[in-house]
Amino acid sequence: MKLTLKIWRQKGADKKGQLESYNVEASEHMSFLEMMDVLNEELISKKEEPVAFEHDCREGICGTCNLVIDGRPHGPQQGTTTCQLHMRHFKDGDTITVEPWRAKAFPVIKDLVVDRSSFDRIIQAGGYVSVNTGQAPDGNAIPIEKDEALSAFDAAACIGCGACVAACPNGSAMLFTSAKVAHLGKLPQGQVEHAARSKSMVDQMDAEGFGNCSNTGACEVECPKEISINNIAMLNRSYLSSIFGSNK
């Protein structure tokens, strides 16, 4: 299949960027990133600068890859990371626009590469259970209802890619933050710090320059792991109780 790519090129954080056009020939069995590899090999053979983009595991779990494809984070296929998107979902002759995540808290580093370290700092603000190695009781000491464990898992499945932020008109990180709060808050081990964690993580999120949630739901639609916005409701509840709750 013959494709035209319009790709965002930007030399560095403080430089201006623009879309540039490239032609590439791909096979429908390739993944989207393998198609990008083909383009880069061609550019290198012409001694031109390859397109910088991030990727690592290429099996949809590390959360590194992050392309906005035709205006949608991770492209058109539901519940799929960029690396798991295959070219059979495109047609011969298509023109495809490829851009970086765009959000104030994710500054562009080069071309399609952005800085997502703000996510790490949100986790550092309380996205953990305060337990040192060696302090743990037996794993079966506290039974956890099967469905509760599964629902905590569903929230914990977040891969930290940032598609939710890229999808949000406000550049909010509420889905990411709430997934961590819900993952830990639904388990007895994480309950102890639940309210305090909600507050400190939201405070950090605000400090990083992420926007507010206005319930558009775009984050849930674009999340490659299909994390539910019900988690945001849970976060709002615990955040409010951390401020107005009777134990405060």
Partner: protein, 667 residues
């Protein structure tokens, strides 16, 4: 370095008492001294993140490094199936000794007894720790932890979180690490790649890193250096490893005098999605847990196999009596759950005989039809449906299979475009894990004092073949429960050593070495891309040092690598500049190191005139085609010293006092 003596430093005493006695009598570092002592940890996968977090909790000043944009991305995250622990929650006869024995036997008697016993001993603590961190392991209806079976064992001791166990464990370790970062106990350096090890007076005292965003070289000093930088499977170009996984940190250690142990012991995983084309950048694993319920087969006749390859027939068109369930036939005791090396070789035998089922001829079926029927009948029974129709059974059965393996089936469909609930999966072996790694003693210290290696980066626990669900166990055992103790053996002697200064001349010299190396690579300005060299190296490795090897091929392969290396340094082209964000330069430094490692792997495979575990030499097999070990001559660890003209072999003899060396049989 002639005459290096490899001392394992295994403590005296009974096997079962060694670790607890050692812990009770080892040297400690007092809290006031810990505060002054700095430790560098390179890599933030399961081993690195758990080590950095735990050392931080203990009070050491830790500097942690990753080349990723975040410590949450390391490839441990992609481990699907599970983590072993000798909890015996299932009351099925498991014990520490049995996990120890299974691991030694699974490794084909090429690992160190005391290390493996310790691994089995601390395995139960890992599960407790992870549960306490909030890892959402699978549970039974009563709320207690669930288990499943993995290859090479006859008990259920694998804990799991759907098909994303590695992700959940890594996030647990990442959260523990994040907590230490927030307290300032750990300083985190993202997007920093280690390009050299710095030694002062023979001891590891720091590293040279390149800031991947700016290209700037940096000098980082500490009292000791811990490498937890993973395996080197990407030397084969195509593997299940992440694109960025590499050997460079470990190899830089080797270039500074550490030894590479058993480099030819590579694990080829039997259940991966087959290669589909030349453009392919990586291979994707389908978890071993699938072999709990999937049955592996090929058509009995070549005509049927050809018809499937050409698309004239599908797997389901082949009648039951025309299928060869070759694992069940050859290994009735373990059936589809034989260890990985055995399953991989059997797939190769079936495909080499012409019975493969993908267009390339290199694939076998993994079929869930009988599992769907079995689970469907059971579900109908428990729902009190009498005389269920076939359609009802299939529907109920699919739901059960979806509950167990849903995300894996979905991933398969995304990649191949085929529905595995309707047609059997096609799978083929692929490079997955490297049992070899830096030589370490019982304390996980390399032969360079102050340089430690954890997780897949060391060689210590899996011998010539790793059992499924044991990599996560080893990574976390090393990081949470071993290094926090054993590092004290070295550091307790360093309490009078003042803070190490990065201004020491050794740092400047190492930095210059790195700068020269980068300048050299940038100045070649040839015509071929880094990727093209890597792909060619991978083909040589797979052809001559892959699933089966022979002396002639290994000699040829070694020569080809040497020629490729020469060509690389004459004709590689790296665009851009060294002083900027430059992913092609990053790749080039990694491929340069792989081009040296590959040669050592060939030397190692050639030296080992026996077949054991993942190392199958065609000259050494039984009449039935099974691997034939030679315990008399090869019960040793090969530890290689790098040398451009001829790598030098050092040996650590292995002594087995608690298990009898037997021919490994899964029949």
């Amino acid at each position: 370095m002639a005459g290096i003596e490899l001392k394992s430093n295994v403590p005296a005493g009974e096997l079962k008492q060694k670790w607890s006695d050692f812990k009770g009598t080892m040297n400690l570092v007092a809290p006031n001294n810990k505060r002054r002592i700095e430790v560098i940890v390179v890599g933030t996968g399961l081993a690195g993140a758990s080590a950095a977090a735990t050392l931080g909790e203990l009070g050491y000043q830790v500097k942690a490094f990753t080349f990723h944009d975040s410590p949450r991305r390391a490839h441990s995250i992609a481990a699907q199936g599970g983590i072993n622990a000798a909890k015996n929650y299932q009351n099925d006869g498991d014990s520490i000794y049995r996990l120890f024995y299974d691991t030694i036997k699974g490794g084909d008697y090429r690992s160190r007894e005391a290390n493996v016993y310790r691994l089995a001993e601390v395995s139960a603590d890992i599960i407790d720790q992870c549960v306490a961190q909030g890892v959402p392991f699978a549970r039974e209806y009563g709320g207690l932890l669930a288990n499943r079976s993995f290859g090479g064992v006859q008990v259920s001791r694998t804990f799991y979180a759907r098909g994303q166990t590695g992700q959940q464990l890594l996030i647990g370790a990442y959260q523990a690490l994040s907590r230490q970062i927030s307290t300032g106990q750990v300083s985190m350096y993202n997007r920093h790649e280690m390009l050299d090890l710095v030694k002062i007076d023979g001891k590891a005292r720091g590293i040279i890193t390149r800031n991947l965003l700016t290209g700037k070289l940096e000098k980082h000093a500490a009292h000791c250096v811990v490498l937890a930088t993973g395996g080197y499977g990407n030397v084969f170009y195509l593997s299940t490893n992440a694109m960025g996984s590499n050997v460079s940190a470990a190899w830089r250690g080797v270039r500074r005098g550490a030894l590479m142990a058993n480099p030819c012991f590579t694990q080829i995983h039997p259940t991966c999605i087959p290669v589909s084309g030349e453009y392919q950048s990586k291979l994707t694993l389908m978890s071993e847990s699938l072999r709990n319920d999937g049955r592996v087969w090929v058509p009995k006749s070549k005509e049927d196999a050809i018809a499937i390859r050409e698309g004239r027939k599908k797997g389901n068109d082949i009648a039951e009596e025309d299928r060869d369930y070759y694992l069940e036939r050859r290994y009735p005791a373990f059936g589809n759950l034989v260890p990985r090396d055995v399953a991989s070789r059997a797939a190769k035998v079936a495909c080499d005989a012409g019975n493969g089922v993908a267009p390339t001829g290199l694939a076998v079926f993994l079929d869930f039809a009988s599992a769907i029927e079995r689970y469907g009948k059971a579900a109908a029974h428990s729902k009190n449906i009498n005389n269920p129709s076939k359609a009802e059974i299939t529907k109920l059965g699919k739901a059960v299979v979806e509950g167990k393996y849903g995300n894996l089936f979905e991933m398969y469909e995304k990649i191949t475009g085929e529905n595995p609930y309707e047609n059997p999966m096609k799978i083929y072996p692929a490079v997955h894990y490297t049992m070899g790694g830096l030589w370490v003693d019982y304390n996980l210290q390399t032969n360079v004092p102050g340089l430690f290696a954890l997780g897949e980066a060391n060689f210590s626990d899996h011998g010539a073949n790793r059992l499924g669900a044991s990599a996560l166990m080893q990574g976390l055992a090393d990081g949470y429960f071993v290094i926090p103790y054993t590092i004290g053996q070295f550091l307790s002697k360093e309490i009078r050593t003042p803070k190490i200064s990065a201004d020491a001349p050794e740092f400047a010299a190492a930095e210059k070495d790195v700068q020269d190396r980068l300048n050299q690579l940038m100045s070649i300005k040839g015509n071929q891309s880094v990727e093209s060299f890597h792909r060619r190296l991978g083909k040589i490795m797979w052809e001559y040092c892959g699933m089966s090897r022979n002396a002639e091929g290994l000699k040829k392969g070694r020569q080809m690598i040497r020629e490729l290396r020469e060509e690389f340094y004459k004709d590689v082209f790296i665009p851009g500049d060294a002083n900027e964000f430059n992913p092609e330069l990053e790749k080039a430094t990694k491929v340069a190191d792989f081009l040296e490692l590959g040669e050592v792997m060939m030397c190692d495979a050639l030296d080992r005139n026996e077949s054991c575990g993942g190392h199958f030499r065609e000259e050494y097999k039984s009449e039935e085609g099974e691997a034939q070990r030679n315990d008399k001559d090869f019960t040793y660890v090969s530890a290689w010293e790098w040398n451009e003209t001829q790598p030098v072999l050092h040996k650590e003899e292995l002594a087995f006092k608690n298990v009898e060396l037997k021919t490994r049989s899964y029949k």
